[in-house]
Symmetry: C2
Subunit: 325 residues, 2 copies
């Protein structure tokens, strides 16, 4: 019995080869849509909006870097500003990843429960109110395309899922309430790789010093309950592969198990040659609309039944290093 | 500034303390609902329906075991029968986990692409047709509860999400098509921890010898396109924390990186004292309905905005070792 084993599932990933002129066109794949996109449809991410976190090397001495994109205004900006202040103060240097829970989060920062022993914050850290968990509406009302069955419009592709209306805006997945017009709100949603602000019971107790990244099923029940401040755009595996904590709530039971954070810097603080240069496929581009449509309706050879829809967290906005294709 | 750091996110997990008679009742949590469930609402999982996979110990010598529950009839039974045959033949002993892709899958088996070198299957392995990706309907039409906004009925809690109607049946998350009555089909959905049959392009090319477990965002686009044959009920972290493969499609580039599988046994093949004994909260029980309702509508202290809904993969059917509380 012949099996091409390792390749089996892989097809869901691989961009289909671009159709040569002498062959029938292959159905598009998400990869082929991205490959065919125009350079003008990509937007550069300012290195000032990136956090570069270097963990201690792993047991084999391999480098472990995690790059996080901070969310733009109008979302979570009180916390994002605190995070910029913490990074500029090099506050995270010498702290650690101290909590890892399977199918949930990896969490880092000071990790000290005793306020007498906790690392003091730098000057300029402010208390951010619960009201900043959402922002007033950022995009037009979506338009239904009857042919495609997806709602989309200016810069926006929307869906109704088990939690809320969802859409994309400036390359970010958002939730939206049902109200249209005054009183309408949006909020960033929790997907795999989303970075949020850990907090105590009161919603204004998180400063941004203690952060977590999602490493499992999108915990959408946290939307509007914790501030999403960014997303990991490279190196999430350096968090997702860490041993799970065996202490209370997944905290590492012994301090020696904590994973040291060597440094966290804003991308713009690094020497010019080391500044990370990324770009994302604009969510108001034709190629993004096509990418979502094709992801929701796979007709390439591996797929027998196209899903006919797609969850906001499964879209995974294309982000790449500049100069890559 | 006081922060009880490590505890921050943790509250989403912890069962609320049971209300003492002299205190006002705390709002229920998923944990408190499970804790208050009746023993009669739990159903034992037959050890004959479990696969026990022992990986080689990790670098520190720690045991790595993964326990998989096989899906019951009428789903995927052609492949499930193949898997029983493979386990009884000890076919997986000496094979490996050879492919790990972040936010996607960990895959194991022979992993040999060259049919000349591939490990031959044991006697009795059959080709399973595409038609077994779904089964005829397994449960009654759901009933809308106008107070709760969740559809539920006999043994069934249903929702319409971005992919399909979803429901629970015998403790398993399922999709369902829109048709009601003759022609109606159900299928198992891909969630974190779901185990499926890797295959080549043709839908009948997977035997069950090459399997994968989901270690990220539920890849619901694979529903009805690959056979789901079970779910990891213990030890998923032993797959999810493995290094990601750097070769083509996430296959480990060097054979030495593969993680050896020492043995895979049906639970019923183990000595009686070692047979794993698990039970699940019956999805037609009152406590399961309450568990889903509370998970979708969190009113305990951490939550400021109850979600008002829940995705089928976020429900996570309670499964525990027997004798645990």
């Amino acid at each position: 019995m012949r099996l091409t084993l390792a390749m089996a599932l892989a097809l869901a990933f691989s961009p289909a080869p671009l159709a040569a002129q002498d062959k029938p066109a292959e159905p598009p794949t998400p990869g082929s849509v991205v490959a065919a996109s125009k350079p003008s449809e990509w937007k550069a991410i300012d290195p000032a909006d990136l956090l570069v976190m270097d963990l201690a090397p792993d047991a084999k001495g391999a480098r472990r870097q995690v790059i996080i994109q901070l969310i733009p205004s109008p979302f979570s900006q009180g916390w994002v500003n605190n995070i910029r202040t913490l990074a500029k103060a090099h506050w995270w240097d010498g702290t650690s990843v101290y909590r890892v829970v399977d199918n949930w989060v990896a969490q880092w920062g000071d990790g000290e429960d005793d306020p007498q022993k906790a690392k003091p914050p730098p000057a300029g850290i402010v208390k951010v109110p619960e009201s900043e968990y959402t922002a007033t509406a950022v995009a037009d009302e979506p338009i239904l395309d009857p042919e495609r069955g997806l709602l989309y419009g200016h810069g926006l592709i929307a869906d109704q899922d088990s939690y809320s209306i969802t859409q994309f805006w400036s390359g970010w997945p958002l939730g939206r309430d049902q109200i249209v017009g005054p009183g309408q709100h949006n909020w960033p949603v929790h997907c795999y790789g989303s970075v949020g602000v850990a907090r105590d019971l009161a919603p204004d107790t998180g400063t941004g010093a203690e952060l977590y990244a999602v490493i499992g099923t999108p915990p959408r029940q946290l939307d509007r309950n914790i501030a999403v401040v960014g997303r990991v755009i490279e190196g999430i595996e350096n968090l997702a592969t860490l041993p799970r904590g065996k202490g209370e709530n997944g905290v590492y039971a012994e301090p020696a198990l904590r994973v040291p954070i060597v440094s966290v810097r804003l991308g713009s603080e690094l020497p010019a040659a080391e500044q990370p240069r990324f770009e994302y496929l604009a969510s108001d581009s034709q190629s993004f609309a096509e990418y979502v449509h094709v992801k929701a309706n796979r007709h390439d050879a591996f797929y027998k039944v196209p899903a006919g829809g797609i969850d906001v967290c499964n879209v995974q906005v294309p982000i790449r290093r500049m100069g890559e294709k």
